[in-house]
């Protein structure tokens, strides 16, 4: 009988490859997914659309980059684990080759070729598919956006460098592990790789409290240290002090170690979980390391997903609480619409203007204490007669807008504050200056009036207002306009009207009318008079003064000093403006989440491979299917759920700490955001649970446990 025979090692590897498709499939899939996610994510982050949304160096960008780094790390870890699992699966084969006299050099050549083919080609495919993936998701998002023109996603080639660096790093790491794998002198170690255990030392009872202490210490020290440095040393906390967050990691490690190895013993059935716990113990080091990374990734995914709900739910609640449908500050020196024009425009959109009210505002300079940092990083505090703009309204003007009569004694000022804002009233102003005449007014703080739309305005006694405003030219004067509308034919008319009015105001704005909210002409004049340079003049012009071309950007929307507040537009545009943020953070969450799933899957398979012999022995010793199934389930549930619970708990506590530390309370909007976050975590958890069930089936199949024969209620 003649058959086609194999004659070369290349043919042998090729045939073995066909036989062990599953091992290769996992490596290929992991590389494809890792590179696709990294590529999709970096193309999104470095797209000009996102770069314009997040100010460089801003907190949001820092957060994005932090989670991006965690996500990249997660992808790198699961790529390397997939490669290590691949070596583990190949170890018997390679060991047999070595035992039969194959040289390491020729084996290395074959293994490297296989590794390269299984990593590089899927990786390149992933890199190519990444931007398409991003674009696809973005296009789906755009279907829901009201403004499709202003949200075109454009890519920059910079992200390719990130993709190439990631690919190079993952290839390098996997090849280093391959070299280590082949360089062992003991061939039996290679052959028995699949059965290798990693025992860890005994875990003491103090690990749990010590872990909790380290986490709390790291969170408090990390978050609170800037305040500590400022209060006690009077200096700006140096960058290295961020290392104070580090105790969190050994803290999580100790807790996982404790829960995996010791766990909560049952007094009634002390030996019930002895098998599963022992198995985990002898895979301890790798398992706990994996779980630590998974915890970080779960926390990263949750952090990413929390950002938008916390922001969006706050904004939505805030806009609902606005006192009027439309309110705006219109500069007196520019051709802004009056009520007649507004009424006409409203008529074009089948609307009727209701409850119109307007009142003059004056822009003054106010004094205060400034804070700066010297060359040694030490805080310097200095008094300045004009430290910021102060937009003032008279008490009668306040009554015109709100219908509330207030009495303000002369020489006193009241502050309008948004109840939900983390910023309190400015109580330290003592001097107001008319920047045209140089006239000043000594003042002291009176009280607070809560208002969403008037927030930021300072209220003066009518006489004080008239005296200090005297001589101001139109560039220092504004009109506060507010009204409601009656929209008998639906919200669409109101939205289109709001867009038309917005465009009318933007097109009439120029010069100082296009300033960013942090630019103060009062301070600018004061600094010029003192012969000093105004710090805002050192900022890039594009971030301080906008142009008509910027009017579609997110930055303009968030930072324009004279942004009108149109409730319908704010609500409709919230999704659009949040879309870029949402998509970016959603991507981060997807990357972290995928990494969690893949790491837990590869870890579970490793567990099955390592313990195959143990399960065969257990079967020989008479262990029934239920017993074996339960021991697998106990191990897998720890791998899947412990990091999930720890990560979610840690990030929730961290968020609550931040929210509470902002203003010493958790506001209604923040509370709503937290509820949304809890719902998101439940969805996350459900996804992980479903994946766990799937993995449990795969592992049971590998170990020859027919899960179907286990009664449903015991599964």
């Amino acid at each position: 009988m003649k058959t086609t025979s194999i004659r070369t090692m290349k043919q042998v590897f090729s045939k073995l490859r066909r036989h062990a498709k599953t091992d290769y499939r996992l490596l290929i899939l992991c590389n494809l997914i890792a590179n696709l996610l990294v590529s999709a994510f970096s193309f999104l982050i470095w797209s000009s659309t996102v770069q314009e949304t997040f100010p460089p160096g801003g907190d949001s960008m820092k957060q994005v980059m932090m989670v991006f780094c965690i996500a990249i790390f997660g992808c790198l870890v699961f790529t390397v684990y997939a490669a290590m699992l691949f070596f583990r699966c190949k170890s018997r084969e390679i060991g047999v080759f070595m035992a039969l006299g194959a040289g390491k050099r020729s084996l290395a050549g074959q293994l490297f070729r296989e590794l390269f083919a299984s990593m590089a080609f899927p990786a390149l495919t992933g890199i190519i598919l990444g931007p398409l993936f991003t674009l696809g998701i973005w296009q789906i998002f755009r279907l829901f956006l009201p403004d499709k023109e202003g949200t075109v996603l454009s890519f920059t080639p910079y992200s390719l460098i990130i993709c190439a660096a990631f690919l190079a790093a993952s290839l390098l790491l996997c090849f280093l592990f391959a070299v280590r794998f082949l360089s062992r002198t003991n061939i039996l170690d290679v052959v028995n790789e699949q059965r290798k255990s990693e025992p860890i030392r005994d875990v003491r009872s103090w690990y749990l409290p010590a872990g909790i202490f380290l986490i709390v210490f790291g969170a408090v020290a990390g978050y609170g240290h800037p305040y500590f440095f400022e209060t006690f040393f009077g200096i700006f906390a140096p960058a290295w002090t961020n290392l104070l967050y580090l105790p969190i990691f050994p803290g999580i490690y100790l807790i996982i170690l404790f829960l995996v190895i010791r766990g909560k013993g049952s007094r009634k059935h002390p030996y019930r979980k002895i098998i599963s716990r022992s198995m985990l113990k002898f895979q301890g080091r790798q398992t706990v390391n994996n779980m630590l990374i998974m915890t970080l990734l779960v926390a990263g995914a949750c952090f990413a997903m929390f950002y938008v709900p916390i922001t969006a739910s706050g904004n939505l609640l805030a806009t609902n609480a606005w006192e009027k449908d439309f309110s705006m500050r219109l500069r007196a020196d520019q051709d802004m619409p009056d009520f007649e024009e507004i009424g006409q425009l409203a008529g074009e959109y089948r609307l009727t203007v209701k409850d119109p009210a307007e009142t003059p505002l004056s822009v003054l300079g106010k004094d205060g204490t400034g804070q700066d940092i010297d060359e040694n990083g030490k805080y310097i505090y200095y008094y300045q007669e004009v430290i910021a703009d102060c937009t003032v309204i008279s008490a009668s003007g306040y009554e015109t807008l709100t219908g509330e009569h207030i009495d303000i004694p002369r020489g006193t000022y009241d502050e309008c504050v948004d109840r939900d804002s983390p910023y309190g009233p400015d109580t330290e102003t003592t001097l107001l200056t008319n920047m045209v005449t140089g006239e000043t007014l000594d003042v002291r703080f009176g009280t607070v009036h809560y208002s969403h739309t008037l927030s930021g305005l300072t209220v003066l006694n009518d006489e004080d207002f008239a005296r200090i405003s005297e001589g101001l030219d139109s560039s220092w004067q504004e009109t506060y306009v507010q009204f409601n509308v009656d929209a008998p034919y639906g919200d669409e008319d109101e939205y289109r009207f709001s867009q038309a009015l917005w465009n009318r105001i933007v097109s009439a704005s120029s010069g100082a009318g296009m300033d960013s909210s942090f630019y103060s002409w009062a301070v600018k004049i004061y600094c010029d008079e003192q012969g000093e340079t105004y710090w805002a003049d050192n900022e890039p012009v594009s971030s301080v003064h906008f142009t008509q071309e910027d009017s579609d950007t997110f930055q303009f929307w968030s930072l324009w000093k004279y942004k009108p507040y149109f409730r319908i537009m704010e609500q409709n545009n919230l999704f659009m403006n949040m879309a870029i943020l949402f998509l970016t953070f959603l991507f981060m969450a997807i990357v972290c989440y995928t990494a969690v799933l893949i790491i837990s899957y590869t870890r579970s398979l490793t567990l099955a491979l390592s313990n195959r012999q143990v399960y065969e022995d257990l079967t020989r010793l008479g262990a029934g299917i239920e017993f074996r199934f339960r021991s697998v389930r106990e191990q897998l549930s720890k791998i899947f759920f412990l990091p999930t619970i720890l990560g979610m708990t840690a990030i929730t506590l961290f968020f609550l700490m931040i929210l509470f530390a902002n203003d010493g309370r958790i506001s209604l909007s923040e509370g709503t955001g937290v509820v949304v976050c809890v719902l998101i975590m439940m969805v996350f958890g459900a996804g992980i649970f479903l994946f766990y069930r799937r993995t449990l089936k795969v592992v049971c199949r590998m170990l020859g446990i027919n899960a179907k024969s286990v009664p449903e209620k015991k599964q």
Partner: protein, 248 residues
């Protein structure tokens, strides 16, 4: 053929060191069928693994057909394993993705490209060990005895100087064990093979010319087969009993 002198090997576990071989010396002549017996932990598998060059050892001398193995590089040792040694393992070590015939040809493939001579040799071994009918089957489709006979054929494909067998009947029932021992005897008879076998099984060992009994990492006794197999097996059992009695 094989010469082992004053071989020492120890393992480390944590901070403790366990000396497994404490100066083992032995020799195996060409065409001889030699077994090593001993209780668990006596060092017999470690001895075989050292001779196989699978694990490094601390001191001592191993020569194969006059060639010293201790000074050889990794690549040279691989060459020795491929050309001069043949291996039979307790758990067969066949590759699941290759057929019986391909598994037998594997050492030849590792050596270089397979020639027609090599293929003819494989077919001859298939016939010799009665596994011709399963030549195109995969390991998962054949019995334990057939797997081990395949492994014996694989060990012989490169005409090695020495076959090293580690508990070759350890995973087999008595019928299959007998078939494997028969294949060793056949290999010695037909191919003039030299066989060095580690075993727990006195029945299998009783077919050998000589049995070296190890105890606590040293050679306890060497027994020669006088030609009467049942008698030799009784002597082996008596010696093991005597050794166990000393322990008591």
């Amino acid at each position: 053929m094989l010469y082992v002198s004053n071989l020492h090997k120890s393992y480390r576990s944590g901070s403790r060191t366990y000396e497994v071989l404490k100066g083992v010396s032995l020799n195996v002549d060409k065409g001889e069928f030699v077994a090593v017996m001993g209780p668990s932990g006596s060092g017999k598998s470690t001895l075989l693994n050292c001779i196989s060059c699978y694990i490094p050892y601390e001191s001592g001398l191993i020569t194969l057909s006059g060639e010293k193995l201790s000074g050889l590089s990794g690549e040279e040792l691989a060459k020795v394993r491929n050309e001069k040694l043949g291996f039979v393992f307790q758990d067969f070590m066949l590759l699941d993705g290759l057929t019986v015939r391909e598994n037998i040809l594997l050492p030849r493939i590792i050596h270089g490209e397979v020639t027609s001579d090599g293929e003819r040799n494989a077919d001859r071994l298939l016939k010799l060990f009665g596994i011709e009918a399963i030549r195109d089957k995969y390991p998962a489709e054949i019995s334990g005895g057939e797997k081990q006979r395949t492994a014996v054929a694989r060990a012989l494909i490169n005409n090695p100087l020495l076959i090293l067998a580690d508990e070759p009947t350890g995973n087999l029932d008595s019928r299959s064990s007998r078939a494997v021992i028969d294949s060793f005897l056949e290999a010695r008879h037909a191919l003039d093979a030299t066989i060095f076998m580690v075993t727990h099984d006195s029945f299998s060992a009783s077919f050998c010319d000589r049995v070296i009994i190890l105890k606590d990492g040293t050679v306890y006794r060497t027994l020669e087969n006088q030609g009467n197999r049942p008698d030799f097996q009784d002597r082996l059992l008596d010696t093991i009993k005597e050794m166990s009695g000393e322990d008591i």
